[in-house]
Symmetry: C2
């Protein structure tokens, strides 16, 4: 791996961590550089359009990683309901062990910046779409037709996203547990 | 109404608008003052703790307003499912007519600032709790026991919150329509 490649990855990794914990507006380039450990001079070499471009790249990367995790969990679950429950339990564990800092890696920046930045809006939409596609494919495999599966996938992802907001505001996992139990009953 | 009272209300109203559209971190006191039309000098008279205190007051006010609207819609609906559908349709209309700017008045600031500000976290949690209480009461009236109604209310609110995120990122209402159809089927 060249030094340039690893600087780029370090910037993306640091940005993803900060976007997830504090969002887009509160995250400054100096903070990203400090957390990344990479030389500041190389930031505009890799991301000539600056923070917006870097944030979109970090959201795309985080979206891909989570899409892979969702696919893996759902593929390893015999029952759809069991897969959805495992997914929610994994997110609940991340939230709790991070003291309610690490929720959805995309939602905060999506809400803050989708209106001002088309780059960020598209990165958020692509990430959500990739998660929906993984859910929808598994729901179709469970027997629903494509249109019904698309609606069900939107319900499942929306409920998880919303429960992550409520859990962070309340500092407790009840919203995630309730949504898990309701979705398991619905998908079972 | 005294000038002092109306300045206070103008600050709160302007803050609520800005928090809903762009979130907490991107909203500066100068922008709030400019939008409010109230004299800057009176801001620290009304909110000695500054932006945090003002944001919490605006979230509390927006939370109360939406709680009242939720209660009114649910009280005027013969069927629970119909009430939930009307609620979602009203939120979808606000989102669309504002060009996807006006989503949940609480979610963005809750995600950004719940970790750094206990005042904001509490204001967000109280707003969500008041909406949940309205939903739960209506679900209990529909025949579910208190524990099942609490879970169902958490599913309904979480799904709506999440669908508002997805709709803003995708700039289209499909997520809200899908969640409405799924919840109507579940509550019907």
């Amino acid at each position: 791996m060249s030094i340039k490649t690893s600087s780029r990855e370090a910037f993306i990794g640091a940005t993803a961590v900060l976007l997830r914990r504090q969002g887009y507006s509160a995250t400054g380039l100096n903070e990203i550089v400090a957390l990344s450990g990479a030389p500041k001079g190389s930031l505009y070499f890799h991301f000539p359009a600056g923070k917006q471009e870097l944030a979109a790249a970090a959201m795309t990367e985080a979206g891909c990683q989570l899409a892979g995790a969702i696919e893996a969990v759902l593929a390893n679950s015999e029952e759809l309901a069991q897969g959805v429950a495992q997914l929610i339990d994994a997110l609940a564990l991340q939230l709790e062990t991070s003291r309610y800092a690490d929720g959805c890696p995309i939602a905060t920046a999506a809400l803050e910046a989708s209106r001002e930045s088309e780059l960020i809006r598209e990165a958020a939409a692509c990430a959500f779409d990739s998660w929906l596609a993984a859910l929808e494919a598994r729901i179709v495999a469970d027997g629903l037709d494509r249109a019904a599966a698309a609606r069900r996938a939107l319900l499942v992802l929306s409920a998880i996203e919303g429960a992550l907001i409520l859990a962070r505001a309340r500092r407790e996992l009840t919203p995630l547990h309730a949504v898990r139990d309701e979705l398991v009953a619905l998908c079972g």
